[in-house]
């Protein structure tokens, strides 16, 4: 065991190192508590070494030679991952004279050149302890004060996040415990609820294939319903049509098992489609347009949540949305939220219309949902394009389900609802929360707040992919309070 020091972020950092073989001995001395699982010492040392060996091509430029007794690692977080010092030094912003100085003083020579003036130097093969030499040289170069950074170059062996092994037992979209995913990669619902859980005076409409308005977790929220497909008195879905019930629960579910993001708002349900049992929806554009007009004009909806789309554009629908945005809420405008679509291609109609909030999906790792994102759901990806406004959680969402064998599950709650269909109701719910806080805001201002207060994501420089980032309910309601 030994300690090494180096500079990072201008601060002196101290690191305890052990060789792989020392580590095996150290672990062998530990006795796990009863019932506690621990890393077996031989497995730990061997696993790290095997990881390095398995990536020989990448690792070979960082070591002249790697033997078990010469390989060090930092044992502080073996289970979560570890770091391995190499024989190289990463230097940022070095002039050629500094590189020459490193060669003349320490025998360090460049092995790789990175972007933006980064260079990787390796210790000479013939010195006794090349890793120690790398630390010493890095330190010396940093102290000369002529470079932006100079520190030992580490390999990091981290646990790779696997596909979602669990169903979403927790409502990660509201409060993400990081199992799986990243802690805090959520809409910050708990913080938002310290401001409001939604006002009974605010109405959010779900336009979909019907909503089980008798569902015990929804029935108290429903204030208006209509069927534009078969002309029934209620918006009850047919057959296996569970999609709209799932969307409604994301907004206003009233149970700890499937809590909506705005459980205090009221629901309006409009049935505008039915499925043909072959994986297709059937829409009549005129009926859909009538449903939109009914929702803002007769049902007095403040927000319209639309998790449907596809096919050619239609003015009759676009005009109905425009009327909602300009004439709804006595001229303040009804907020229109539309799902982007799940085909990982250009945004579907009507998400491509101006003036609507177009929503893509994010996952538990705060990534844009793609066919290759970490959630492992390779069968769908979020649509993208210039019209995309922001992302919201859309993977393995816990929400209400139609009863019995016809739904996504056999219970009142499903834990597997997916898609931009799940993302859009989260945004609709936040629009409802905003209007619960300040009713007089215009629909344009609500849209602006939601976009401005989204959390930036790693692909933030590509708004076509992620819009303005991932929905943040807390920041949005806070901003609403200020106007």
């Amino acid at each position: 065991m030994r300690y090494v020091e180096y500079y990072s972020e201008g601060q002196r950092q101290r690191l305890r190192l052990e060789t792989i073989s020392d580590g095996e001995k150290a672990f062998a001395r530990q006795r796990p508590a009863a019932g506690q699982e621990t890393v077996k010492p031989q497995e730990a040392g061997s696993a790290i070494f095997e990881t390095l060996s398995s990536q020989q091509q990448r690792v070979s430029s960082r070591f002249h030679c790697l033997t078990k007794s010469e390989a060090y690692y930092s044992p502080s977080r073996v289970k979560a991952g570890t770091i391995i010092p190499t024989e190289t030094v990463a230097v940022d912003g070095a002039s050629s004279s500094e590189i020459r100085w490193m060669r003349s003083e320490y025998g360090m020579r460049p092995v790789a050149e990175g972007r933006c003036g980064k260079v990787l130097l390796i210790a000479p093969e013939d010195c006794d302890n090349r890793i120690a030499m790398a630390f010493e040289a890095a330190d010396a170069l940093f102290k000369r004060g002529n470079v932006g950074a100079s520190h030992p170059n580490f390999l990091r062996v981290l646990q790779r996040p696997g596909p979602s092994a669990h169903t979403a037992e927790t409502q990660w979209a509201l409060d993400n415990p990081g199992e799986p995913g990243l802690i805090g990669a959520d809409v910050h619902a708990l913080a938002a609820w310290t401001v409001t859980t939604g006002s009974a005076g605010v109405r959010v409409a779900v336009l979909d294939e019907g909503v089980d308005t008798d569902h015990r977790y929804l029935e108290n929220a429903v204030v208006a319903e209509a069927d534009f497909v078969d002309g029934k008195q209620t918006a009850q879905p047919d057959g296996n049509d569970a999609h709209g019930t799932a969307c409604a629960g994301i907004i206003a579910g009233q149970s700890d098992r499937a809590k909506g993001l705005a459980p205090g708002v009221r629901l309006v349900a409009a049935r505008i489609a039915k499925s043909d049992d072959r994986g297709f929806w059937i829409f009549d554009d005129f009926e859909t347009a009538d449903a939109i007009d009914w929702a803002w004009e007769r049902a007095k909806s403040d927000v319209l949540s639309n998790s449907w789309g596809g096919g050619p554009p239609a003015d009759v629908i676009a005009n109905a949305f425009n009327r909602a945005r300009t004439q709804g809420r006595e001229g303040k405008g009804t907020v229109v939220v539309v799902a982007a679509g799940n085909s990982q291609r250009q945004i579907d109609f009507p998400g491509d219309l101006d003036g609507v909030l177009t929503v893509g999906a994010s996952n538990q790792w705060d990534e844009r949902k793609t066919r290759s994102s970490k959630d492992g759901e390779s069968w769908w990806g979020s649509n993208y394009g210039d019209e995309l406004d922001l992302l919201a959680p859309g993977v393995r969402i816990t929400t209400t389900d139609i009863w019995g064998p016809r739904g996504y599950s056999t219970k009142a709650v499903t834990t597997t609802f997916n898609g931009t269909s799940a993302a859009a109701p989260h945004v609709a719910a936040v629009a409802g929360l905003i209007l619960s806080v300040k009713r007089e805001l215009s629909e344009a201002r609500v849209r602006e707040i939601i976009k401005q207060k989204a959390d930036a994501l790693s692909q933030g420089d590509q708004p076509r992919l992620v819009g303005s980032g991932r929905l943040n309910a807390y920041m949005a309601v806070r901003a609403a309070r200020r106007g």
Binding site: D276, D284, D285, P312, D315, V316, A339, Y408, G419
Partner: protein, 168 residues
């Protein structure tokens, strides 16, 4: 080359492609004229789009039956647009630019496609081609767009799109 089938949306001309594989059968239309009512539900692969309206594969209807249904105006063409299928129903919604009501009414009276105004709410009309054909509704809507000041003239679309169920 201009597309054979098109319509207007957002002021732009949107091409439509005829789906060679499907037709829609309006059973209600046949019944209303006293013809022999076909039973598309008995046709293999038929999908009920709405009450009395079925999507069927063209090849599953015998040629003489197809001809008979066409003569009875009960056969509606099906169009493709990306991954959606569109059936055009015999109805047009019109939103008239302010002050142009007289001009639009005059146009409808003299239009090549004989039609009937079903609903008149000043600047908003619902019009039906007398033929009961979806193609005529499309033609009438396009002629309105191209000839008189309308905010919108759109034939009624019934669309079949992939459902957005992506559950695990």
């Amino acid at each position: 080359m201009a597309a054979d089938f098109y319509y207007y949306a957002g002021g732009k001309r949107i091409p439509l492609e005829l789906d060679p594989e499907h037709v829609a059968v309006d059973v209600g239309e046949v019944g209303s004229r006293g013809g022999r009512r076909p039973d598309p539900a008995a046709v293999e692969g038929a999908v009920e789009l709405r009450s009395g309206l079925y999507l069927v594969e063209r090849s599953s209807l015998p040629a003489d039956e197809r001809r008979r249904l066409d003569q009875e105006d009960a056969l509606l063409p099906v169009y493709q647009y990306e991954n959606a299928l569109v059936v055009i129903l015999p109805e047009v919604r019109v939103e008239i630019a302010e002050g142009s009501e007289t001009e639009v009414h005059r146009f409808l009276e003299e239009a090549d496609v004989p039609n009937q105004i079903l609903t008149d709410k000043g600047t908003r009309l619902v019009v039906r081609p007398e033929s009961g054909r979806g193609e005529d509704a499309l033609r009438l809507a396009n002629e309105l767009q191209e000839s008189v000041p309308v905010e919108m003239a759109q034939a009624r679309f019934l669309r079949r799109v992939p459902k957005r169920d992506r559950s695990s």
